[in-house]
């Protein structure tokens, strides 16, 4: 429990930060050891990675449990609430910049590196000396570069599953907003219904995304190794998919918390933080749909 000090709330000592640092270290140490193992060598990396990942789950469970207890005890005043809000907003901003790095790579590949390899602009000499046969194009005809890294492939058509997924995510933004309004109006049943719908929509999105990946690998020969097209396609959609997964888990946790009556119409920062995060993955998807699938 935290303590009220004078006019402020200062949280008490906690073991969770140092536990978090340890389990994060264990996780990445395991991952690095695994990646670095010689081919055929059976290292302990995978085991360590698994232990670390379970540790991270346990840490999140423990840390959030203590925070929820403090919140339910009414320890968090308006000032703490504002600090939490700022923390979440700036965290989302950092996530935007993380995706920015990969969108930047996509735009650079499409506007500069691929055309230059085809002899445009100041890439003319590279083209003539190294790859004079290569005619630059994005997509299936040239997106894997002058040496056709990964072999011939086909792209995912935007107006099938990706369009459906866009509609699913947009609808989920609507349902979570309805849930939020219902929460503010104090209708718990309606909150549970629409929040539950949001979770289902998120899970459906992920189901279709998995289906799309299987189709890409099995039928279209579009893989992570398909040159820079495959790299940008799978890294962008993959990181987005990981964020949707995380967001869906967060929504499910919030659904359980609504069920247990953790929120009231004035005090529900946990709900709002997850809603913001959900809108963020939604906006990122719109960028993906536009720049990865359509254009």
């Amino acid at each position: 429990m935290g303590q009220q000090q004078g006019a402020y709330f200062v949280p008490s000592k906690s073991q969770w930060p140092i536990v978090a640092a340890v389990v994060m270290f264990v996780t990445v140490y395991g991952a690095a050891h695994w990646l670095n193992a010689e081919p055929g060598e059976s290292g302990f990396g995978k085991t360590v990675l698994l232990i670390g990942a379970l540790g991270i789950l346990a840490m999140f469970f423990g840390w959030f449990r203590s925070v929820i207890k403090e919140s339910l005890a009414g320890n968090y005043n308006d000032q703490v609430d504002r600090s939490f809000r700022m923390g979440m907003m700036w965290f989302i901003f950092s996530e935007v910049m993380f995706f920015g790095a990969f969108f930047g790579a996509l735009w650079y590949a499409r506007s500069y590196s691929v055309p230059w390899l085809g002899g445009e602009g100041h890439g003319v000499l590279t083209h003539q000396f190294l790859w004079s046969q290569y005619s630059a194009a994005w997509g299936a005809t040239g997106g894997n570069g002058p040496e056709h890294v990964g072999g011939d492939f086909q792209t995912i058509a935007p107006w099938g599953l990706p369009l459906l997924n866009t509609l699913i995510l947009l609808s989920s933004s609507v349902t979570i907003t309805i849930a939020h309004h219902a929460l503010k109006a104090g209708h718990r049943g309606k909150v549970l219904l629409f929040l539950g719908l949001t979770v289902l929509l998120g899970a459906t999105f992920l189901w279709f995304q998995a289906h799309e990946y299987i189709e890409a690998y099995k039928e279209l020969n579009l893989t992570l190794q398909s040159g820079v097209y495959g790299s940008t396609f799978f890294m962008l959609t993959g990181f987005h998919g990981m964020h949707v997964t995380l967001g869906t888990i967060m929504l499910a946790v919030i659904w359980l918390r609504v069920l247990k009556g953790h929120f009231n119409k004035d005090h529900h920062f946990g709900f709002e933080a997850v809603a913001w995060y959900w809108h963020f993955v939604d906006v990122v998807w719109l960028g993906l749909f536009m720049f990865v699938y359509i254009l």
């Binding site: 000090q5 004078g6 006019a7 402020y8 200062v10 949280p11 000592k13 906690s14 073991q15 969770w16 930060p17 140092i18 978090a20 640092a21 340890v22 994060m24 270290f25 990445v28 140490y29 690095a32 990646l35 670095n36 000032q79 600090s83 939490f84 700022m86 923390g87 700036w90 965290f91 901003f93 950092s94 910049m97 993380f98 920015g100 790095a101 990969f102 930047g104 790579a105 650079y108 590949a109 500069y112 590196s113 230059w116 390899l117 602009g121 190294l130 040239g142 997106g143 894997n144 570069g145 002058p146 040496e147 890294v149 990964g150 992570l224 190794q225 040159g227 820079v228 790299s231 890294m235």
Partner: protein
């Protein structure tokens, strides 16, 4: 004014826990976490410094002297990574942790547990990174910028990439905490434009950190997948481009440079007014100059890449954008000098380091202007001139400001005065030997000596020997600093007053020395004349 904030109940059950592990590993106290950051930074400063000593020893004479070339390259790479992410940045976060709540009248940081996590990630991240030295295949040796395809040959790349991820997480959480603290925890009456310049500089720096650390994470993630998962981001055969990495890296890298200097500007802007016994000249101009520099830092990144083969239009744009930075930086130097003008100055150790900062940082700024010129840069690029330039801005800039701030606030932290005599011995040794160390490197670079090489043409022998002698003595001088700090913390008998320096203004001087475990549990009533910048002219 703030007497009510610091009365008696910080002993007893409100004081620091007696259990060592509980106190330091589970802390939620900004002062203890600040101390952890500063001690960690000092440790890393000496580890990174020992790497530099290996470099200077190898370069003492032409020919191969002591180490294998690969080990030499590991040393240049890890010296940079340790000094940037381990010494300079944690030192600023430590100073921010200690001083920002005291300067704005807050009881603690806004998110104290996350604060503890931000710190404790760092020792693990550096253990991971430095452990690569002992792995088969060795540590990273492709330079701290980790350019592909060279960096992709590093056997231990995954360890380094994950270490960078951890450092990034730590920095982002630290920055979020600082922004939330400054925007949400100020005492009533501490308006934004009354805050100390150091607090302003950290607010803007924190924004830069949140904006660019994720970009670095993205860049190194692409390195990771290019090496281990067969992606083609930086592989021209697959339609990618090694230069793409440089763009993404320097989009992070240039704001990173200002992350390491803006808080130093803030520190010097606190110290000079104190010892000149005058308010800072042009407070608002100082704040807006920091903000302008931060904005410009996002549109100059390609000046690190002039020699890589950019389109002409890009070279010209980035050249002019880079030269624009001289304007707000010039405003700052002008204002520091104007603050001293007509002041009744005294020259205690913090002031000596601050004045040395102004002069020597300006030298580093001018050599930066030379490097900003595209045609001239074709000659200077990747030469020792660049090494001299960035060591002038980072050692006599950032590190001198950190040392100045340590002397300035050490009595407040410990309640005891450091030895002024040994502080001055440290200063004069540092300022002389740092110039012997780095000034000849300008000449070496102009004469054509490339950076990151273990052996060189005999024509460069004399200046290299002078530089190495300066390096050894500058390194040894920092042991004096260690001695002064240890003496002050554990042995000094001379009590420090609450207002340690006669001309010091601001809330941090209204609490006792040493600052009690909890301060400002009740927000202080603020009188403008007590603040360093209470009366800002419009």
């Amino acid at each position: 004014m703030a007497h009510a904030a610091t009365h008696d109940h910080h002993d007893g059950h409100h004081g620091a826990p007696s259990n060592f592990f509980v106190r330091w590993c589970m802390s939620t106290n900004h002062k203890d976490i600040g101390t952890l950051y500063l001690v960690f930074s000092l440790l890393m400063f000496f580890i990174g410094g020992s790497f530099a000593m290996v470099i200077r020893a190898e370069l003492f004479k032409p020919g191969m002297q002591l180490v294998q070339p690969y080990f030499f390259n590991e040393m240049t790479t890890l010296h940079a990574l340790v000094m940037i992410f381990g010494a300079v940045m944690p030192a600023f976060v430590g100073l921010g942790n200690w001083m920002i709540p005291l300067m704005i009248g807050a009881p603690d940081m806004a998110l104290p547990r996350m604060n503890n996590l931000s710190f404790w990630i760092l020792p693990f991240a550096f253990a991971l990174m430095l452990s690569t030295l002992f792995l088969p295949g060795g540590g990273p040796a492709g330079g701290w910028t980790m350019y592909p395809p060279l960096a992709l040959q590093t056997d231990s790349l995954a360890y380094v990439v994950f270490a960078v991820h951890l450092m990034g997480i730590s920095s982002i959480m630290g920055a979020i905490n600082i922004i939330a603290t400054i925007l949400n925890m100020r005492a009533p009456g501490m308006d934004l434009l009354k805050m100390p310049v150091f607090v302003w500089s950290w607010l803007i720096t924190a924004f830069l950190l949140i904006a660019v650390m994720p970009v670095l994470a993205g860049a190194v993630t692409m390195l990771l997948t290019d090496k281990y998962f067969g992606t083609s981001f930086f592989n021209a055969a697959g339609g990618g481009d090694p230069v793409l990495y440089q763009h993404i890296f320097w989009f992070f890298g240039h704001p990173e440079v200002y992350i390491m200097i803006l808080p130093a500007f803030g520190l010097v802007s606190e110290i000079i007014p104190t010892f000149a016994r005058k308010p800072i000249f042009g407070y608002k101009a100082m704040v807006f100059a920091i903000a302008s520099i931060a904005f410009l830092s996002f549109i100059v990144w390609a000046h690190h890449m002039f020699a890589v083969g950019l389109p002409l239009g890009a070279e010209i744009f980035f050249m002019y954008a880079t030269m624009l930075i001289a304007v707000p930086t010039g405003v700052k130097v002008f204002n520091w000098v104007s603050t001293m003008w007509g002041g009744s100055m005294t020259f205690e150790t913090p002031m000596l380091f601050a004045i040395a900062f102004v002069i020597l940082f300006t030298i580093g700024g001018f050599s930066g202007l030379m490097l900003a010129l595209v045609p001239a840069d074709f000659q200077y690029h990747d030469s020792y001139f660049v090494v001299a330039h960035f060591h002038y801005v980072l050692v006599t800039g950032a590190v001198f400001a950190i040392i100045a701030a340590t002397y300035y606030w050490l009595p407040k932290w410990t309640g005891h005065m450091y030895s002024e005599f040994w502080g001055k011995v440290h200063f004069w040794n540092s300022v002389i030997w740092v110039n012997v160390l780095f000034f000849p490197q300008h000449f070496l670079g102009l004469a054509g000596m490339p950076r990151r090489i273990p052996d060189y043409n005999v024509a460069f022998a004399n200046f290299n020997m002078i530089s190495s002698i300066g390096g050894f003595l500058f390194g040894a001088s920092q042991l004096i600093f260690l001695g002064v700090v240890i003496h002050c913390v554990f042995f000094s008998k001379k009590k420090a007053a609450d207002r340690v320096w006669e001309g010091a203004k601001g809330l941090e001087w209204t609490v006792p020395s040493p600052a009690p475990f909890h301060t400002f549990e009740v927000p202080p009533v603020i009188h403008d004349e007590e603040l360093a910048h209470g009366h800002v002219e419009d």
